[in-house]
Symmetry: none
Subunit: 206 residues, 4 copies
DNA sequence: GATGAATGAGGATTCATTCAT
DNA sequence: CATGAATGAATCCTCATTCAT
């Protein structure tokens, strides 16, 4: 992989974008290395010079995408705000900033979490697990739980909040597949998201 | 399709199980019709005598799975109970009974809702949509909303309940992939599910 | 074959028409026995009960078509007229009467004379040869050659007349593929044909 | 296609000859790409690396064959001789030179003009049409018609000459299928052809 | 006679990966 | 580093023919 990272950035990007786009469009199995090299304007051999096989390439892009989002979050999040609803609110907005910049990555990450292809299933699921465990702790380990009503089963409440955010995000993604990211009124989306968070807040907070 | 349905049940089941297993294991694109006929112990040609192509076979299994679950629900649900939490509780238990009987179908349905393969994406998404619209109405159209607290945004509350059930179910599915359906303590699972429902109930009900 | 000929005429015709239509539309190799039985509304097995294989069926239809045309000619031709140009004129008109009645046979006979499929090539070519030798003699064996100019190589002149008629017929067939038999102005076609014959007549006759 | 044309000539020829031979022997539909790669001693994949599918390969060979013959004619014909019978005489001899060199192409071109396979019919017929229109004009556009008898319908006379040449050529081809090109006494054949031309000449010329 | 389920060799085509240059 | 020709196993699918009923 170091071989690849020593390339000049412009070429790296051409390859990354081509590959992400193809995987996002067709899923792992259907994606064609042929299309990738054509779009990236490199030769067949070169791709396999940098990545030992298709799977390696996919894993590399997986790691890269996760890393990009996490870096954004860890750098720009207001860690002083310990309120879980504000935390989710912020994370959602930071994620969206990344996706606005790398539109193909947005679709690629959907593939990451739904990909069923047998060749990568295990590894991807393992990594998803790892990501959940590791990053969840970092992103939500410092939350102030004192605001929750007494008697509330806090782990379960966290589950509900998390699934609500996921479900809401997924619903928005469906819409984007029909329209495009540009045609979505983001303010409107975030306002709706806030309403869900608000509903959960009055339910769970004192 | 009538051709297939006129077969003796034993052979039908051999083919259905072989196909469902293969699709569940590898997703649409990776699934091999060769493997299916081998497992079902029929000739290559016969599969295509019954189903005009791979896609048709998949769609048939899709419809079959949905139908099996819905039939179970519509026949055995206690429609007198208009409480949404009890409704979800019952549905979950009925679904599980179907899956206990057709273990591969359990995994197949996971594929159904995440499959992205370009060849079937549109048709599957359209069918999922249809299913959601049609069946949701039937399953939840008669719910008694008078128990909800005043001031609660009921559509949003329904969304949260639904996503929570989905999220919980998905989490259980992940566990099954590691263990097997038999090794899971179902009572324990349903007890946990009830706790989530209870938490939402105290939050949303008067 | 006797088995087939003992069938009631209605069923015979259903099978013949279905087969001729399919062969005419797709040529030998591309023609599907499946389509034939579907169109004829008989079972798969029955077709092979009457004809031992696809090739046999084709040969049977070949013989049938030739026979139909020849019978028409031998029965209705005015054998008193020994002029070769009048003979061709009459034959062309009689052929056309057959084709008006069996439009699919018209296209089927085109296939007969152009079919290259390896499985039947030899047999068909041999039969075409046989037909040429045998029937040519019968159709043109009594022609009065005394009207030809002295010094004309009569066999060669006959060749030229024959190829001209063939070439003209083939050109008309091309037109029919674009239009349909009904849309062609037959009087006009025969008038043009007569002009060719007239040109040859002034050239070859005293 | 440029990919293919960059190959060394020896390999190109191995592939072309193998393909032409197979198509000539079996027609379009019956020809097996498997046989072609076996005869050409290349891998299955390579054929489809050069030609995107079987149809493309056929079309390529079609164009190549036509081109070879036309180039020969346009380069070596004596354009000063405006006599139509001499023109035909020359063209026939030049064509035969090409076929002597590529014996398989001789049979392949027969397939070209009789092939009915549904997959290529339209394209081939369109190309045949194009060829007829374009090349006929070039080959016969400068003919001197002043030698024809007054009162002769010249377009019809041209038709007769053309069909006679076609008919004669076709008759010779039939003979080659039984014997081989080497066993034919070409001088004898051309002498016979000249006799036909001579007969037409005394008929149509002053 | 009549059915149509069943066969399986063979069809064209794809594609990740290798390797000589 | 970089190329792209070459591989060949594997893909889905077709179809004439057989045979138990």
């Amino acid at each position: 992989m170091t071989k690849f990272l020593n390339l000049d950035i412009e070429k790296q990007d051409r390859i990354i974008n081509a590959a992400i786009k193809e995987f996002a469009k067709k899923g792992y199995k259907n994606a064609s290395t042929n299309e990738i090299v054509k779009e990236a304007e490199i030769s067949k051999g070169l791709l396999f010079h940098y990545f030992k096989n298709k799977k390696d390439l996919f894993i590399f892009l997986y790691d890269l995408s996760i890393e990009l989002v996490l870096d954004k979050i860890f750098e720009e999040l207001d860690w002083e705000d310990k309120d879980i609803f504000n935390r989710y609110r912020q994370i959602a907005r930071l994620k969206m900033q990344v996706f606005k910049r790398y539109p193909e990555m947005f679709n690629f990450m959907k593939v990451i979490f739904t990909e069923d292809s047998i060749e990568i299933k295990d590894e991807i699921e393992h990594k998803n697990q790892e990501f959940m465990n590791g990053s969840y702790q970092k992103m939500f380990g410092d939350i102030d739980f004192s605001k929750f009503k007494a008697g509330i089963d806090i782990p379960k409440a966290l589950g509900i909040i998390s699934w609500t955010m996921e479900g809401f995000a997924y619903k928005q993604q469906e819409r984007v597949l029909q329209a495009s990211l540009d045609d979505i009124d983001l303010d409107e989306v975030f306002m709706q998201m806030d309403e869900y968070l608000e509903l959960l807040k009055v339910s769970f907070y004192k």
